[in-house]
């Protein structure tokens, strides 16, 4: 069974600094996708970034980037130049077909001004 683990229930970062959120997963699949979703207080789930497992190059989206280590089954999210609007719950998710996606328990990120 696929499982996703986020070991940091809460993280805090100073505005303009960099923070890294951790995620590990367990799977026997070789082809899959990984996602980071942001959930602000509005509860809307917003896609931040995604990574295809067959790609060695780490995905980047503006201030957001990932460190994908396939052998270690690790998928961390780095947020650079943190902004107050980045404060939210962040969920790591694993998907290997269109019928199943597994989510971690989330990391609550606080951004201090």
């Amino acid at each position: 069974a696929q499982t996703v683990t986020q070991s940091q229930p809460e993280m805090s970062v100073q505005e303009a600094e960099t923070v890294t959120l951790s995620c590990t997963y367990d799977t026997s699949e070789s082809d899959y996708y990984l996602f980071w979703y942001k959930q602000p207080p509005s509860r809307q789930m917003i896609l931040v970034i995604r990574q295809e497992a067959y790609k060695q190059q780490n995905a980047t989206e503006n201030r957001f980037s990932v460190n994908f280590q396939k052998a270690a089954k690790s998928f961390s999210l780095k947020i650079s130049d943190s902004q107050l609007g980045d404060a939210a719950m962040y969920f790591c998710a694993f998907g290997y077909n269109n019928n199943d996606m597994r989510f971690g328990a989330g990391t609550r990120l606080t951004v201090k001004p």
């Binding site: 996703v4 899959y32 996708y33 996602f35 979703y37 509005s42 509860r43 809307q44 789930m45 917003i46 896609l47 995604r50 295809e52 969920f91 998710a93 998907g95 290997y96 077909n97 269109n98 019928n99 199943d100 996606m101 597994r102 989510f103 971690g104 328990a105 989330g106």
Partner: protein, 115 residues
């Protein structure tokens, strides 16, 4: 283009009551999903549909039913509500026609409280 819409936003049910959570998408997506999110937890898949007339169980289907008569709508039915069904419910969709494991688009969620 509204994306994925859900109604109601919030509802209080008494134990044993029934209700239907509505979900509609206007992106002509084939795949639709229902998730629940318990406090402090990630999302868990309840049911999904790969097209009109086709539905299947996810990880936590007990106590729920779904139907998919049109491409746009995917209602979730709660029969005999129980306190354990207190949660936030998210509907999501994706096209499912091109790349597999593609991004899912989420609705704003429905908060349900069963007392």
């Amino acid at each position: 283009n509204a994306g994925v819409t859900q109604t109601p936003k919030f509802r209080i049910l008494k134990i044993g009551q029934s209700m239907t959570l509505q979900c509609t998408q206007d992106m002509n997506h084939n795949y639709m999903y229902w998730y629940r999110q318990d406090p402090g937890m990630g999302l868990k898949l309840i049911y999904y549909s790969v097209g009109a007339g086709i539905t299947d169980k996810g990880e936590v289907p007990n106590g729920y039913n779904v139907s998919r008569s049109t491409t746009e709508d995917f209602p979730l039915r709660l029969e005999l509500a129980a306190p354990s069904q207190t949660s936030v419910y998210f509907c999501a969709s994706n096209s499912g026609t091109s790349a597999p494991r593609e991004t899912q688009y989420f609705g704003p969620g429905t908060r349900l409280l069963v007392l």
